[in-house]
Amino acid sequence: MFNEIKQRFATDDVEVKRNDLYKVRIKYSRLFELMHMLRDEYDYKTLNAITCTDWIEEGHFALTYMLTTEDRKYTFMIQTMINREDAQAKTLSHEYKQAQIMERDLHEMYGIDFPGNENLKELSLESWVHTPPLRREFDTLEFVTNHLIFREGREDNVDTKAETKRLRAEKKAQKSKDEEVKDGK
């Protein structure tokens, strides 16, 4: 199988991660061809998950499609890169029904568009108008500071670390003092 993939798709990036888990990196343009090949010839019939990693420095998203055989023994990870700006990928929702909701989730969290997917409405967020929250340019702390009100600390609020240090030093001093008294006796 590996040789066939290497030859047909001109890639050397095939990895055996575990004895039941394989990974391959290929160009986006060949992705669906490989998926169809695995499905038709090697029984990888189930789409388990579509995951996304944000490589902001390189300027792309890494989409990983996980396929599993019908007997649930082997899993194949196919990784492909798509452009980060106006990210777009072809939908799989017509071939795999479960891809519909996975793509909907990716659309919500990363802003990736899947033309052809019938329903890309918000899934777990509600009326979210800001940057998709899992994109790395979204600064969570800045967003929280600007949008929400924090509770002010108590008046007797102390820096816990400094306070612990001070108490420990005090205790140590007291201990050595006690020992001196003891030795003196």
């Binding site: 519909q100 909701i101 509600e126 009326s127 929250p133 967003f143 929400l148 924090f150």
Partner: protein, 206 residues
């Protein structure tokens, strides 16, 4: 008679409740006494802390011995427990539920998340201070508070009700603009969630 074990615990818990005498007249006293001794808690878990509610209300901790029991719908309930972290999405539902409850109504906030955000202090999707959006009568801190803490929180609430001090629903009515402004600041102009089931039938299901 000397108490020990369970009876001692009950006596200690209720000791505070029976001592209060600060009432204006006997009608007020009677009304407050009725209110504090029949607290119906809405069976509605809004966060992880809801897991502590079943033991509180069932045989192990048995809150009913103090007059605290569950209610099925918001219209029948006196107290809503905001249990744990509160995301924007949940907040919409809590606001709608709270506004459906009839007066007098009280809010018991559970866990450190409602106090200052807790471990979700830098989360983009949870609120940090519940009292900005809804009037809170009693905070029970902890992560999560044990049923004992919840019971003590209830006793403290009962004590305030008995003294006629717990009046958060009045505060909500009087300062409605303030609360509404804060709610709209994070939830947008349309605070209430939509009622219809269309999202399931025509939106491709979950």
């Amino acid at each position: 008679m000397e108490h020990n074990g369970f009876l001692l615990e009950q006596k200690t818990l209720e000791g505070d409740l029976n001592s209060d005498t600060s009432h204006k007249n006997s009608v007020d006293f009677l009304m407050n006494w009725f209110r504090k001794r029949s607290i119906f808690v809405l069976a509605y878990g809004t966060g992880c802390g809801a897991i502590e509610m079943p033991p509180t209300f069932t045989s192990r901790y048995d809150a009913e011995r103090l007059g605290i029991r569950g209610a099925a719908t918001p219209r029948q309930a006196d107290v809503i427990i905001v249990s744990g972290y509160c995301s924007y999405k949940t907040l919409r539902r809590i606001i709608r539920t709270y506004e459906q409850m009839s007066n007098p109504k009280y809010i018991l906030a559970l866990g450190s998340c409602t106090v200052n955000g807790g471990m979700y202090w830098d989360s983009y999707n949870t609120i940090k201070k519940l009292e900005d959006y809804l009037p809170v009568d009693m905070y029970v801190n902890g992560c999560m508070p044990r049923p004992e803490s919840i019971l003590e929180g209830f006793i403290a609430l009962q004590k305030e009700i008995g003294e006629g001090k717990a009046s958060s629903w009045k505060k909500y009515e009087e300062n409605y603009e303030f609360y509404r402004k804060n709610q709209e600041a994070i939830l947008g102009k349309k605070v209430e969630p939509s009622y219809d089931a269309d999202w399931y039938l025509y939106d491709g299901g979950l």
